[in-house]
């Protein structure tokens, strides 16, 4: 098992910074996701850990071994890093059957035949594919191919497992069940995992910590709940979950909304102009009391929740509540709003 130490890693493609000054310490046995929109540099970072890209600057160490430090001319090629990796496209070799695919890393290590067979079967058992050993990839579903890729990545008992958007090619239902399966597997094996995804639900569900990236720069490294409830900046707040933004003024124990001529109580660590973010499920609507006055524009019943829009001043706020909430309200009605959890950022 191993920790991963990434120090000041930068990757430039021409003049463009794909990754800019990335620092992270991933602990032994930890499940860390790198989350961000497409093009944020998360895959490039993962490929640098794997050894498919060379960092322009900085140092990457896996366990005790420095695998990349260009300033000292150190670069360990992918095949010498002893890591497992699962690719978005599965990358299951179509000309080998399931057994041969999974056994390949052991074959490279020249593991004796009987031991190779035993360990390959164990890996296949782990992903519930034991009875598919003789099949070829084109006879498997996408989910099964994904499991083959997972077994292949795990068979050599690597200290580190990298996953590059492994679930994004699967359908929604399968994606959810694979989430739990991968998480269970990681717990069982105690392996260190770096998981790249643009799907925040995936990252929230599986990770011990999430690294949020935007335009090549780390925005926040935190536990899922912290990232959601206490985003480091408006970018993170906007990317994770739904959010309404308002312009306000922070003062002791409260935030003033000058344009709306009202204020709400809030614990804010600074004073002065603020961007205020509030999530739709943290807004309460009432006919009688609240801090802000608004007009219900419209509402949409979605089965498990109701999604509605309320006009406050000239800002439209999105409000979501469970089930058939707001049934007693009608479009165009004047309402009062109060905010539960408020996030404020200095401007």
């Amino acid at each position: 098992m191993a920790d991963v130490k990434i120090t000041s890693v930068t990757k430039k493609f021409g003049d463009v910074f794909a990754v800019n000054n990335f620092n992270a310490l991933i602990k032994d046995g930890e499940f860390v996701s790198i989350l961000g929109p497409s093009g944020c540099g998360k895959t490039t970072m993962l490929r640098m850990i794997a050894g498919f890209e060379r960092a322009t600057e900085g140092e990457i160490a896996i366990g005790d071994q420095v695998v990349s430090k260009i300033s000292e001319g150190i670069f360990v090629p992918p095949e010498k890093r002893h890591i497992g990796m699962v690719f978005q496209s599965y990358a299951v070799w179509p000309h080998m059957n399931v057994f041969d695919n999974v056994a390949y890393p052991l074959k490279i290590q020249k593991v004796p035949t009987d031991k190779l067979k035993e360990r390959t079967e164990q890996a296949l058992d782990l992903v519930h594919l034991a009875e598919y050993a003789a099949r070829f990839p084109n006879q498997l579903s996408g989910g099964q191919q994904q499991r083959v890729a997972l077994a292949r990545a795990l068979v050599a008992e690597p200290s580190l497992l990298l996953l590059d958007e492994p679930l994004s090619n699967l359908d929604a239902k399968l994606r959810e069940s694979m989430r739990f399966e991968i998480k269970d597997l990681q717990k069982k094996l105690g392996i260190t995992v770096v998981y790249v995804t643009h799907d925040q639900a995936e990252a929230m569900a599986m990770s011990d910590r999430i690294v949020v990236m935007h335009k090549g720069v780390i925005q926040q490294v935190d536990e899922p709940i912290r990232v959601y409830e206490h985003p480091a900046n408006p970018t993170v707040a906007d990317f994770i979950g739904l959010v309404n933004f308002l312009e306000g003024e922070a003062a002791a124990g409260q935030i003033k909304f000058k344009a709306l001529d009202c204020s709400i109580p809030a614990q804010v660590s600074f004073e002065g102009p603020a961007r205020v973010a509030v999530r739709p499920e943290h807004i309460r609507i009432s006919k009688t009391d609240g801090y802000l006055r608004g007009k219900l524009v419209n509402k949409f019943y979605l089965g498990d929740s109701t999604d509605c829009r309320v006009l406050v001043g000239d800002t439209e706020l999105r409000v979501i509540d469970r089930g058939a909430a707001f049934a007693e309200y009608s479009d165009g009605e004047d309402v009062f709003l109060s905010f539960g959890h408020v996030m404020a950022f200095p401007k």
Partner: protein
Amino acid sequence: MGKKWLPQWDTKWILILSAVASLVVFVVLPMLFLVYKSFIINGTLDIKHYQTVYSKAVNWNALSNTLKVSLYSTALSVLISFPLAWLIGRTDLPSKGFFRTLFVATYMIPPYVGSIAWIQLLNPRVGYVNKFLVETLHLAEAPFNIYSMTGMVWCLTLFYAPFAFITISRAMEKMDPTLEEASRVSGASPLRTLWNVTIPLMYPSILAGGILVFIGVASAFGTPSIIGMPANIEVLTTRIVTYIYMGDTKGIQEATALAVSLMLAANGLLYLSMFGLGKKEYVTIGGKSTRPNLVELGKWKWPAFSVVMGYGAISVFLPISSILVTSLIKSMSRPITWDNLTLSTWKAAMENSQYTEPLMNSFILAIGAATIATIIGIFIAYLLMKTKAKGRKIPDALATLGGATPGIVIALALIITFSGSFGLNLYSTMTILIVGYVVKYLTMSVRTISASLSQVHPSLEEAALNSGASWLQSLRDIMWPLIRPSVVAGWFLVFMPSFYELTMSIILYGSQTKTIGVLLYELQTYADPQDASVLAVIILLIVLVGNLALRKVSRGQIGI
């Protein structure tokens, strides 16, 4: 209204059916008639023609030579093309873009023009390379003799290898690079990855490219004729032409039997490969296009560059320079110096109507063939991609069949079919040449146009019809602007090979319809290397210009 047996008897279907009908008359009928003629004597099934043909040692020899030359050239082409395609597509070899263009462009050098160049270089008496080596190394005799089996295989390999190179490098570009990365991360070195993953995955396209080379070489006439014949090495195509040139019924009958053998071999092989590969074709296109991880050649970078550069120099630069220099030289017996160069050969050739007439003929024929193939191609491609008619794939298959059939077979089939047998006598006319070119190269325009038609969403046409346009109006206002670049590209893809075509022309031309290919062949055979070089340079120039135009209209998407 009752049920109609035709989908809709309107302009659209009249035009499409006319295109299909022309295919039936000019592809299906001649081919069937050729087979019929070879098996049916006086109304009964008889294999006498085959018995006669294959009772002669010379024909057996020709058959075995065809197989030998094709096998050797195919094996060599693959052995050269795979490493080239890998170096260019998968490693950090310097100047990769230049090399790719260079090796793909070799495809546009007509093989017989390349062979003429190599005769100039490796002729045992006067070849430039031989003379140079004899003088510098003080050899007693010339080290190379182009007039040999080796010489033939050498030329055919150099000029048919691009078929394999194009096929293999396309497949390599399409391959999901993560398949290789998965191997690296599993602990395999780059070389091991090449061996365990890349080569097995490339296997179907290696086979497909190899088969293209094999069929191309087996159908080639020019090179075996100008290199093999002087060394008394005969192949099937040269035998067929010899039989046809005998001019009598018996000659034609034996030519027919040989031609059917060649046709069955070529088309059978192609069919087998499509059928066999159909199942094995690996779908290796990945989920997202990652920047392919290039193999770092390290200390092998510059040695590899030198080898690739050397191959480029030998396969492209050397032959083209040879032709160019020969066309400009004053006296072949004196060394190549600036004051031994002149434009007088060019001037004389340009003023000689025996040269300019075939040049004009080839222009007219190629323009005619390209235009007709484009018009037919539009309707066949439309039928294939934009209708739901039953059997819509058949006309496309017929066009492919024409493309895969050896030119010599097409020519012979056209001669026996349209020399009055069916009330149509095209013998020695421009028309029969155009028909031959269209049959052989129609597939180029159909393929190019259907590729772009498949990009046009059906709703675009439906919206036009819905707005009140007739089918012809929607074709003109909606379809045409969208597919125009590919239609023009398809036109050039027919024009260029038609312009320099030799194999069919040598059989189909008449005294008034000589083509530049035939003229070049005659000049080479009657040993006038300087005039031959002038014509060869003209052909190369025209093809080069055509190719540049092609790249321009297709915005770099299509180019040979």
